[in-house]
């Protein structure tokens, strides 16, 4: 069974969507390690190492995600999780900025996928299935 780590990064308390996402991921057949609100980047990585996780899913709704997520991939690499699948989603920046720019910023930080506000849970579950399948074929993630 694939293991996913979920949580809300930084000083952000918005737990509701993250909790519902975690419930849905469990229902979809994943083992979900839920870290909850107000989780420092380091705790995501620690939990991923301890549980031998396949993916880390970072939520942020309060606008400061851009500051909190910097260097997240580097922390993974330092911990030996070079290739772990990384997703980030929510209201990732302060204010209404064009999504293509925001997405680019987070992909450049080393996230494999970034989900804009309003992304459906079903879409995330489909990404996971396709990305894990792509990894079986030795790819980093599925196209699109």
């Amino acid at each position: 069974m694939k293991v996913l780590v979920t949580g809300v990064i930084g000083s952000d308390t918005h737990i509701v969507g993250n909790r519902i996402l975690s419930m849905a991921l469990e229902k979809a057949g994943y083992k979900v390690v839920t870290l909850g609100a107000l989780t420092p980047a380091g705790e995501f990585i620690k939990a991923a190492v301890e549980t031998n996780a396949d993916a880390i899913m970072v939520s942020s709704l309060y606008g400061q995600g851009e500051l909190d997520c910097r260097g997240f991939r580097d922390l993974c690499v330092e911990a030996g999780l070079d290739d772990i699948l990384l997703y980030v989603g929510g209201n990732l920046v302060v204010g209404k900025q064009p999504w293509s720019e925001v997405e680019e910023r987070f992909l450049a930080m080393g996230f494999d996928r970034a989900a804009p506000p309003g992304t459906r849970i079903e879409a995330v579950i489909e990404w996971l299935a396709r990305d894990f399948a792509a990894r079986e074929r030795g790819l980093r993630r599925a196209e699109a």
């Binding site: 000083s11 308390t13 969507g17 519902i20 309060y62 606008g63 500051l67 204010g95 506000p117 309003g118």
Partner: protein
Amino acid sequence: MNAPSLPDATRLPLSEARIADDVFRGMRQDNLARWPSGADVDFDEAVDLHKRLPLHKQLGWVMRKAVAERRCLTQPRGGFGTFEMQRALMVALDNEGLADIVPTTTDSYTRNEQWQLAQKGLEESETVGRSMLNGYPMVNYGVARARELIEAIDKPAIMLTGTTMPRLTSEIAFAGGYSGYLGSGIAYTTSYIKELSIEDGIRNYQYLDRLAAMYHEHGVELHRRQPGFLTGTNIPPSIAIITCVLDCLLAAAQGVKNYGVEMGETLHMVQDAAAVAACGELCQEYLAKKGHHGVFTPVTLLHWMSAWPQDEAQAAALISYGGTLAAISGAASVTTKSTHEAFGIPTPQANAEGLRMTRMAIYLARHIRLDGLAEFKREKELIGREVRAIIDRVLEMGDGDVAVGTVRAFEAGVLDIPWSPNRHCRSRVLPARDFDGYLRVLDPGLMPFPRDAMAIHEEALRKRAEREKVPFGPDLAVNSVYEISEPLGKLLPDQWE
């Protein structure tokens, strides 16, 4: 990370009792020494500053005026990461938004007392010229800058700080001329933090309430306010009001005389009107029971606090309707949102538009009241019975002490908050929207609501499950979280089946 209070062997056992003056002096000294800007707080000078402010810039006076004249005031939220951006925002909300109350929201690092991180975010925001913080770092900028913000506007200013740790932020804001402060020990501790205990949250707000009361004792009536919207996710009125009453009693015990209570809108017009009426009355009922006299408790409603639609037209309807609900309910003020809500923090212009939409709706609905409706009376009576059942149990558990009773009641699950991030809160209680649009309790967890009241909730929710052909269970609660954010085509299809 969340800077929990250090265990202090010398601290007094938890109680609702007023903090003694000599103890409080010591607490203030320690508190103000935690960041360099604390040294600029001079209480006597701050008292003089407030006394020099015109009455219309003093929120304590303005809230009383609103109630006396049956007005529903508007207040947005708003905070940016640099002083210049914050001043421009406050001026825009005042001038373009006609805001009756001008806010300053602090960033989330400040809320968690991570002033080093806030400093970095502030410097980076100044460098890149866009806000990297989701609010204004009040402690880092300090007292003199706060005063400049107050000078830039012609309205009273309130601090919105979504924090369980308000002690230094409030000292600096009050010294800067802010006359309102939103936050409370029970509501914010159960909604804005993961690790901090209910006890520590209560203690932190006892400090703030004592500070506000100390200003009052020196002739300055500040406005304290309680955020009963809690986690903002489908909170049924009785659960909100339980926290309003308990937090209000804690504040009154410290000597606060001007204490507003807030609730998020349920979006059901009758339920919101009944909730506002019940909330004010229940606060006064328990204040009298506990022997606290002359405490002013205006009620504020908040625009929808859960997930918002992305479509700006849909959001505009929610804003205008939110103004209508607040006016009809007789709330003393309404806290507004904008059409950017689904995307996060609005521009000053979008924020100002939200204020004007709300203001127009208030104007249109200002003389309408629902007090005579049978449905209103039924709902208000139901809320009252639910609130009394829980509060009486809490007081009993604390042997009459609100602080002790609250901590014990959360441990036992007698007090509980839906969707709470806090580990010390069971969060077993689960709300959902019923077929008629009322927010109901789907699962009370361990909260001792009266049996007949729960039967009413269950019947209403079973009706929804039946009509929508979904199982009666937690899915009802989850669907209710996202319902209002769904696209119109789904909510109200334009095609016949």
